[in-house]
């Protein structure tokens, strides 16, 4: 369609100003393939598109020189698809981008060192953001080099385990403009480095200190930061009450505090932490060691403007919940996931106070039972947008009958492993804006219920029907008809699903993730229409579909050029199909765990020709058959191997049996 339009105006492009084309490009830039066809129209369009593009996500570092010389004004460079970025690549990048580059993501890349970073820091003077997470071999020397990038504002160093206080000290002194710093899992960084950060980088707004061996000492300095908005202290076991005792701060800017899994932090420490943070909006106390009792909740008095609280995995008393409702009645988000002690009474007393509640997470609150509580939640929280209540298995089916009528604004609903039935789905179908619906292991629902959803929820983007064995092709087809926006669908272990479902799903052209594991009736004939229809398909799981064979993969190899992740374990595919798959340039993860039909040489050829491969899941027997030098070579290219032995994991196809097993493990 577009091409036709462009051909008509091939001559008079002089009339069209660049700015106008830029505006057009802004509008079509959502879909990469549109941009591609645009730039292929003519030389001028090609040039204009090159000038317009600001962000790049190359698949291979080898293309960098050509890509960057074409896209001169690249500001955001995402190298997460390149597992191996060498110092040479970085220096090429630095030379070509120069001062244009503002943001660089190296979080999934390895094999660069301080030398490459130095080039980057020197050449790209306007570099504002860099993500170096997972660079586990990044040393202090590299950090010292990074300190040369003085304009840096956002720096992520998650899991840089070799970094010590010295490196952080260099960064603190060099990068004075830092606003966001993530040091999660930098286990070599302690109080001294963090305290120095607080002294030197006065502009810090977001600071992630999760899992650092820090104590409360450095928090004294941190909380003096004038602009600090987010402070994440997840899993800081060194932060305890004693070290916070003398803490006096007045951090009015603090909006978010994550003190989850701080095992040694109890009410006393928390009170001093919260004492000065009067404007706190989000508080995360998940997995905290103390019981959320009346006393504990009293420490929340100071933060009455709280909008979000997470108490996942805490032991919560009824009084505690009631007190939270009293003290913080402006709460909009409450998460009580895995708080097994939550009772109907406690939840009700909390929810009754929170008229503004938007999000509620009561996953695995297995004590919740009554029809009353869910109905009450629905009644008292008409603004509810998200409700997650996976595995509240005692809640009876009647409880869901009114939920749709009362909470018409629901967008996200997780009813995995619940007793909901078709009547409940009918009620839910009145939520027009529902975009995510999870109905995994809901054994009571049938095609009838799904047809209500298909008719009502036209905005649905995510649907999970994992092991909802009552579903057949009819239900899926009604979904495919009504929910044209669908992006993610899981129909794993729905044993009655056949190729017809896949044919109907191929109408949903936006589907990116399709999981149909363990559907014995699916064949390659079904996969072909998916490959043709769903051009954006990025994740495909056809594990344990024994009727899928090489011809299905051939279709994928031809049409699904965006496929990143595929699992063809325990299917009928052979090495021929796997080799075909390697035609897909963006393929990163591949799982082929099977014993028959795969020769080592075929697998070796497939692995070698798949340039962007990051993860390969293969049968353990292949490990000894593949030449070690090949494995080394691939690992050097950035591919990780996972050797899997079938015998260890036996999953039954029978959902009833599976569920019985689960209950044995459960409470």
């Amino acid at each position: 369609m577009k091409k036709a339009k462009e051909i008509h105006i091939s001559e008079p492009f002089d009339l069209l100003s660049e700015e106008l084309v830029f505006i057009i490009l802004d509008l079509i830039s959502e879909n990469p393939s549109d941009l591609k066809s645009f730039s292929l129209t003519c030389k001028w369009f090609y040039q204009v598109e090159a000038k317009h593009r600001k962000s790049l996500k190359p698949l291979r570092p080898e293309y960098l020189p050509r890509l960057l010389s074409r896209y001169r004004k690249t500001a955001d460079l995402d190298l997460t698809s390149c597992p191996r970025v060498t110092d040479y690549a970085l220096s090429v990048l630095a030379c070509l981008c120069g001062p244009w580059l503002r943001s660089l993501d190296l979080s999934r890349s390895a094999s660069f060192s301080a030398a490459g970073l130095l080039r980057l820091a020197v050449k790209c003077v306007n570099l504002v953001e860099i993500d170096l997470s997972n660079s586990t071999d990044l040393s202090d020397a590299a950090a010292a080099v990074l300190a040369e990038a003085t304009s840096l504002q956002r720096l992520k160093l998650g899991r840089c385990k070799l970094l010590t206080d010295m490196g952080i000290g260099c960064i603190a002194v060099g990068c004075r403009k830092l606003q966001l710093l993530c040091l999660k899992w930098c286990v070599g960084v302690g109080d001294l480095g963090v305290a120095l950060l607080a002294v030197k980088c006065k502009d810090i707004r977001t600071l992630d200190l999760s899992f650092l061996p820090i104590t409360g000492k450095c928090l004294h300095d941190i909380l003096r930061l004038q602009h600090l908005e987010e402070l994440l202290l997840e899993g800081c076991f060194g932060v305890d009450d004693d070290s916070l005792r003398s803490l006096r701060h007045d951090c009015k800017s603090l909006k978010k505090l994550d003190a989850s899994s701080c095992q040694n932090l109890s009410q006393r420490g928390l009170t001093s932490l919260l004492s000065g943070a009067g404007c706190l909006q989000r508080l995360d106390l998940a997995h905290c060691s103390s019981v959320i009792s009346l006393d504990f909740a009293s420490s929340l008095k100071k933060v009455s403007t709280l909008q979000s609280i997470r108490l996942d995995g805490c032991s919560v008393t009824c009084d505690g919940l009631k007190a939270i409702g009293n003290y913080c009645n402006s709460l909009k988000e409450v998460s009580l996931s895995k708080c097994v002690s939550v009772t109907d009474e406690g939840l009700l007393s909390l929810v009754m106070k929170l008229k503004d509640l938007r999000k509620l997470d009561i996953t695995c609150c297995r004590k919740l039972s009554g029809v009353v509580s869910i109905t009450q939640i629905a009644n008292s929280c008409p603004l509810l947008v998200s409700l997650k209540m996976e595995s509240c298995s005692l809640v009876s089916r009647e409880a869901f009958w009114s939920i749709g009528q009362k909470c018409g604004l629901l967008e996200e609903l997780d009813l995995t492993d619940n007793e909901i039935d078709d009547e409940g789905l009918k009620s839910i179908s009145s939520c027009q804006s529902l975009s995510s619906l999870k109905l995994g292991i809901c054994l009571n629902i049938t095609d009838k219920g799904l047809s209500y959803i298909g008719n009502g929820c036209s905005n649905l983007r995510e649907l999970d029907l994992y092991r909802s064995v009552g579903i057949t092709d009819i239900g899926i087809s009604s979904i495919a008809q009504g929910c044209i926006q669908l992006e993610t669908i899981n129909i794993s272990y729905c044993k009655d699903i056949t190729d017809k479902s896949l044919v109907s799903l191929s109408r949903c052209s936006l589907v990116q993730t399709l999981e149909c594991r363990g559907c014995p009736n699916i064949t390659s004939q079904g996969l072909a229409p998916i490959a043709v229809g769903c051009k954006r398909l990025a994740k495909l799981d056809v594990k344990k579909c024994p009727n899928i064979n090489d011809s299905g993969l051939l279709a994928l190899a031809h049409f699904s050029q965006s496929l990143k992740q595929i699992s063809v374990s325990e299917t009928g595919v052979s090495e021929v199909g796997v080799v075909w798959l390697t035609k897909i340039g963006s393929l990163q993860n591949i799982a082929v765990v099977k014993t028959s039909g795969l020769s080592p040489s075929g697998v070796a050829a497939a692995l070698l020709s798949c340039g962007g491969l990051r993860k390969a899941k293969l049968h353990a027997s292949l490990r000894s058959l593949l030449p070690p030098s090949l494995i080394q070579h691939l690992e050097a290219r950035g591919c990780a191997f996972l050797w899997k032995d079938n015998n260890t994991l036996q999953t039954e196809l029978d959902p009833k049996y599976w569920k019985l097993q689960l209950e044995d493990i459960g409470p």
Binding site: S139, D140, A141, A143, A144, A147, D165, M166, G167, G169, C170, V173, G174, L192, G193, A195, L196, V199, K200, K202
Partner: protein, 506 residues
Amino acid sequence: METEDDMCQNNWGSLSSSSKLEDGNQAFAGFTSQQKWEDAEILDYEMGIEKNLQAFDQMKPSSGQDNDNNNKNNNSTQANVDFLQGVKAQAWDPRTMLSNLSFMEQKIHELQDLVHLIVGRNGLVAQQQQQLITTDLTSIIIQLISTAGSLLPSVKHNMSSTAPGPYTGSAVFPCPREANNVASQSQNSNHQRGATQDFDLPKPIVVDERDSHVVEEHEMKDEDDAEEGVENLPPGSYEILQLEKEEILAPHTHFCTICGKGFKRDANLRMHMRGHGDEYKTPAALAKPNKEAVPGTEPMLIKRYSCPFPGCKRNKDHKKFQALKTILCVKNHYKRTHCDKSFTCSRCHTKKFSVIADLKTHEKHCGKNKWLCSCGTTFSRKDKLFGHIALFQGHTPAIPLEETKPSAQRGSSEGENNNTGMVGFNLGSATNADQETEQPGFMEEKISFEESFSPLSFDTCNFGGFHEFPRPMFDDSESSFQMLISSACGFSPRNGGGGSVSNTIL
């Protein structure tokens, strides 16, 4: 006057008796520390007996200036004067001599008893007891000798007052120990006198002297440096001696009168002398000279030293002259400040020293300070480095890799800046004094200089060194702080060379 004599008796008596009671080691330790006590104020009492009127005249105009320097001192300036007059009367009182003699008599009796004791228990005395008795014996003998010496000065003073001017004698340097010993006596008496007499001596502030040596951590040491202390003498209340450069730099100060061989230490000379005949092997000949030499010198006279280098603050012609206390101070000062640093550390090949003792101290620690700042300063503890970095803008931790070497060299080239940085720590409160007191005696002249002039140093006699300083106090973004450092701390702590330059700031 009688009271003072009584004081002396009581005090000394108690000293010896207490040392009998106590464990020998303890008593000995107490004794030596007393010997090391040296109080400038108290020395006033000893000196000036002859020329007190002159001194009095000099002190009056200068008392105002003292106000700046020493609160404790200026409070008692007047009292000092009264005291001096009293002393004058005392010194010529024959009754004092008499009581001194009777005191000696008493001491001799004590000594006799002690010796009897040893004889009586011959062979049965335990090792520890032996030690205790020996200690006691030593103390009594020393008291005897020094009291005997105090009988003489009345005659000697005439000589010294008639022969003023720079002291240029080379063979016999006045030994600081004499003065100390006397000072300790007078201090003992002073403690009790304060209660009974109407005049009040300034409190001995030198007691904390060793604590105050913490200013410099690594470099300085000398076993004699403990004698160096705060100087708060009013100008004119002491005699200024100025040695020539050659004398200062002379390798030996003690010469054998027979063969002419030179020695650095008198004790070594005495050991050497034994080879020249039996007469040098007697205990008297081998004893410390201050015991026998007292009659020959003037223990009552305070001597202070001037640096021969013109323009130096330690030079007597300097506007704000600050005297050096001992010969050793002069030597070390002159070498550190006005001489080439010829001793290079064999480990880092970077640091240079002019005093070999400084080099040795440095070498002890060199390489241990693995925490390195970009300015070249090294720290033995990481938190100190981070405190340093937090304090100074532009300083960053230096990653110890192949770039260690260049950064260290860079640091030495920025020596001036570096030094200022180090000095900044003196401002801090003193909380880690205990760590520092283990290293008594280093940086003589600098210590005394710093203590007497820095207004900050008074109450916190023990500087925290750069071990502790309240970071919150100093926000590096505030320029006022930088000013504070440069103005308030004006000495160059270790590289000596900058010392004289920064001295002038004060």
